[in-house]
Symmetry: C2
Subunit: 166 residues, 2 copies
């Protein structure tokens, strides 16, 4: 009952002023991205579009994250990006994924310390499928990001079911 009724010595319980709506919100803010993040599928910038599509199917994911030669986040591709390229006239065996991916800094990221609610809000506000979970590092005086996980609509849907279990 923590959060609804609180104990005070010699006074007994008193109503802490929180309603159930706020408790749900508190719970969603308590759960951190670090706890719910899953394993991302990561490929290199010079991977061909065809090999990227194969990786998408073999790892059974909806979004691929792409790193530069130093292993830092360079971009991402969605199933829709790949579908658009596949029906175009390009030779997907020769075209590198770096040409079709969404490139940094146009990528919405999340950190392990942010909450499940923050992550879900970013996904809804920016109308995206997946967020890379990143840790900032400084290399040659530039801020770069290492990919340490992902949070997707699947992650949030699973958490929703988890929270709803009686």
């Amino acid at each position: 009952m923590l959060g609804i009724l609180e104990a005070r010595p010699r006074v007994g319980y008193f109503f802490a002023g929180k309603d159930p709506k706020n408790l749900i919100s508190e719970k969603m803010n308590d759960i951190k991205v670090d706890k719910i993040k899953s394993v991302p599928s990561v490929i290199k910038e010079d991977t061909s579009v065809y090999d990227a599509i194969v990786t998408l199917f073999l790892t059974d994911v909806g979004t691929l994250f792409i790193t530069d030669k130093d292993g830092n986040l360079a971009g991402l591709v969605s199933r829709k990006d790949l579908l658009k390229t596949a029906i175009g006239n390009a030779d997907i065996h020769k075209m590198p994924i770096g040409i079709v991916m969404t490139r940094m800094p146009n990528i919405i990221t999340v950190t392990p310390e942010e909450s499940a609610y923050d992550a879900a809000r970013k996904i809804v506000d920016h109308q995206i499928d997946a967020l890379p979970v990143v840790k900032a590092v400084t290399e040659n005086d530039q801020e770069k990001y290492k990919i340490v996980g992902k949070v997707t609509k699947t992650t949030i849907t699973k958490l929703f079911v988890e929270l709803g279990k009686t």
Copy 2:
């Protein structure tokens, strides 16, 4: 505070025995599919794969629902189904979507009366992106389904954010 503290005449408030976890679960079960469902993108069985892909982009959805000549649910296609077909050797301008779609009865559906929790659980358990919301009708002694909406991972993620707002 309904559900946590309840009033009794001349006795005052008493603890109703529900903890916050159960309240979240109750809330998710109270919200019905009918209230959260969104507008589905529906195409006919003889639409070409190419036209299906165009519809996917123009309506900005992840899953297309397919009806037979009587307007009943016949199947669905995901972005992955379309991507698989697009990188194959088929002529996507000539191939009808009916060939590549997942066909009834191999489709998981939900009714408007089921809860948001039920819908989310089906999505997670069956590892799918979207559920058609259906109403059963009897035609020529056979049970058929009319599509009245959809519930997707996006729907659940939006609901999660809605519930988490303070």
